[in-house]
Amino acid sequence: MDFLTWGRNPWDQAILTHVSWDLFWASLFAGVVFLIAHASYMVLSAHRKRHASETDAMEAARPDLPERIVRHSMVARMFHWVMAVAMFVLLVTAFFPIVGIKFAWVTWHWAAGLVLSASILFHIIHASFWLNFWSIWVGPSDIPELKAEVMREFGHEVPGPRPGKYPLGNRLYHLAIVLAGLSVVATGLFMMVRVRTPFFTRNPYLFSDGAWGLTYVLHGMAGVSLVGLVIAHVYFALRPEKWWITKSMILGWITRRQYLEHHDPERWEISRPR
């Protein structure tokens, strides 16, 4: 399997042109294999939630908490779903023609790319000033939580940090999607300069042939990565034990019991209603 495709420019220099579209199939395959492997594992997996008795006790101790805990504001949910639609349009318009479903995809692709770029920009501003910016990121301070999660995964009852607002898996996924998403958006915006749009005067010479090649390769790499990442995301959103999280992305709230069952109130504090 080739990873990259090369060509020779008019000066007979070897230039990169694209990633090999074999990588798309590899990413699709990896996503499906992960899905099957995880689903098989979950059949045997130990229960990771708190015991019902422990949650009962916590619920009894916290009557001050509201019945519904707001997890995602309307604005955050709107961003998520706009981004999701844009991402699906981008993946469909990018890869359906490659698998043989031909249609005029370019305009739809860059239009969806602009929607995605705008929604990401909005999200960065919104998360920086209106949300707890660091709640979604991972860092060395999360190692104890990782250890505890791994031990629980193997059926051990271990004390230790439970997640704050976002489970560790969510945060790791967010990191991956940030890297792939920002790469695809940044390169895609430059690539728009090469096609006819109402926004720019075409300029195929903005970069050298070599730099354009790297731009296309990075765009392709990030694009095929997103195939696997999106498969994983949709899979987790549909898993029964994660459905409460998905539901919160639709309705905006989780129950008090779900909050206490899955989160560490010390790490995700809910202000008492006045």
């Binding site: 060509g7 694209h18 249609f103 090469r194 096609v195 075409r202």
Partner: protein, 343 residues
């Protein structure tokens, strides 16, 4: 331009004598197979060593792909029928003279003796940047060398360009679209698919690496021309730099049925197609709808020609194609004798 190197790269040569055998070979070699009809497009690619197929399937010995037959009141033309045979066929001359004119305008007598109608409609674009083997969009790369600030793009597209600005070089294609022809394709799984000529050609927006809907393993076997436009009033004109052995800068083909005579004639129905302005021959459906039911006069021709070029985006060196296309559309509707040439 690429340096011509006479020795072609090595390939397996197959000369099947039936469509079934040809299909089996195409199936066996997949994308590595190259279909050879008259060879006038193929040998350029091969001698320039730009295309390096593993197998060449020469259809010259497949008798069932040759000849012109009457069918359901219309005609069925085998894909391997030469352009000269098309030109000399009495029924083509009598009922479908637009196809005669189009076929006769192709290249030179020697080339028409060798070139086939299937090859003429399925040939690749003549964009020299692409044919030089550079990694442009059409060749699977990420740039159009013909659409840069200093490109020599006098012959390129003014309409429906999408990254690639190459144009279709086929002379018979606009005539076949005007006649509502049907392209019969034998697919790799042995099925027969009938595609309207209008949909046989694809633009870069849909598939930037192909000129037609043919996929590896597919074979164009016949072209069916229905009786719909037999004996209609036809117009074909091809404008080129020299009057022989040249591709069209712009060509126009129309088939028209009118009611009444001379200045009182009303356009009942019409097909209007232009080529040389986009990567595929363009049927001007909006113009057809506009002129249907109108008198066939100068005023209608002017309205039609203005509508025809709406949305055109000329490149640095081909803005001349706008007035050229306008005037050809005007003449296709009004006729040479009545249409005044305007710039």
């Amino acid at each position: 331009m690429a340096v011509i190197r006479d020795p072609m790269p090595a390939f397996e040569l197959f000369q099947p004598t039936s469509v079934a055998d040809a299909q089996a070979l195409l199936d066996r070699y997949g994308a590595g197979a190259w279909v050879l009809a008259g060879g006038l497009d193929s040998f350029d690619w091969l001698k320039d060593r730009i295309k390096r197929p593993a197998a060449l399937v020469d259809l010259g010995g497949v008798a069932e792909l040759k000849g012109i037959r009457e069918r359901d009141g219309g005609l069925e033309i085998g894909a391997m029928t030469t352009l000269t045979e098309v030109v000399h066929h009495p029924i083509v001359r009598e009922r479908y003279s637009i196809l005669l004119e189009a076929a006769e305008s192709a290249a030179s007598p020697q080339i028409r003796n060798q070139g086939t109608i299937g090859g003429n409609v399925s040939q690749d674009t003549r964009c020299w940047y692409y044919r030089a083997g550079w990694p442009c969009y059409r060749a699977g790369g990420n740039i159009c060398y013909a659409d840069t600030p200093e490109s020599i793009n006098r012959e390129h597209a003014i309409l429906q360009a999408d990254r690639c600005v190459a144009v279709s070089p086929s002379d018979t294609a606009p005539a076949l679209i005007a006649l509502d022809a049907q392209m019969v394709i034998r697919t790799s799984d042995g099925d027969e698919r009938v595609v309207p000529a209008q949909d046989y050609f694809v633009g870069p927006a849909i598939d930037i690496t192909r000129m037609t809907v043919l996929q590896p393993g597919d074979l164009l076997t016949t072209i069916r021309i229905p009786a719909t436009w037999a004996g209609a009033r036809f117009y074909f004109e091809k404008v080129r730099d020299r009057q022989v052995w040249d591709f069209a800068l712009v060509s126009v083909a129309s088939a028209m049925v009118v009611k009444g005579e001379d200045n009182g004639a009303i356009i009942e129905r019409i097909r209007l197609v232009v080529n040389g302005v986009a990567a595929r021959p363009l049927r001007l459906e909006a113009v057809e709808a506009l002129v249907q039911g109108r008198p066939r006069n100068e005023s209608t021709a002017v309205i039609a020609s203005n509508r025809a070029i709406e949305g055109a985006q000329p490149l640095r060196f081909n803005a001349y194609k706008l007035p050229l296309m306008k005037n050809l559309v005007k003449r296709a509707i009004r006729g040479v004798e009545g249409g005044t040439w305007t710039s």
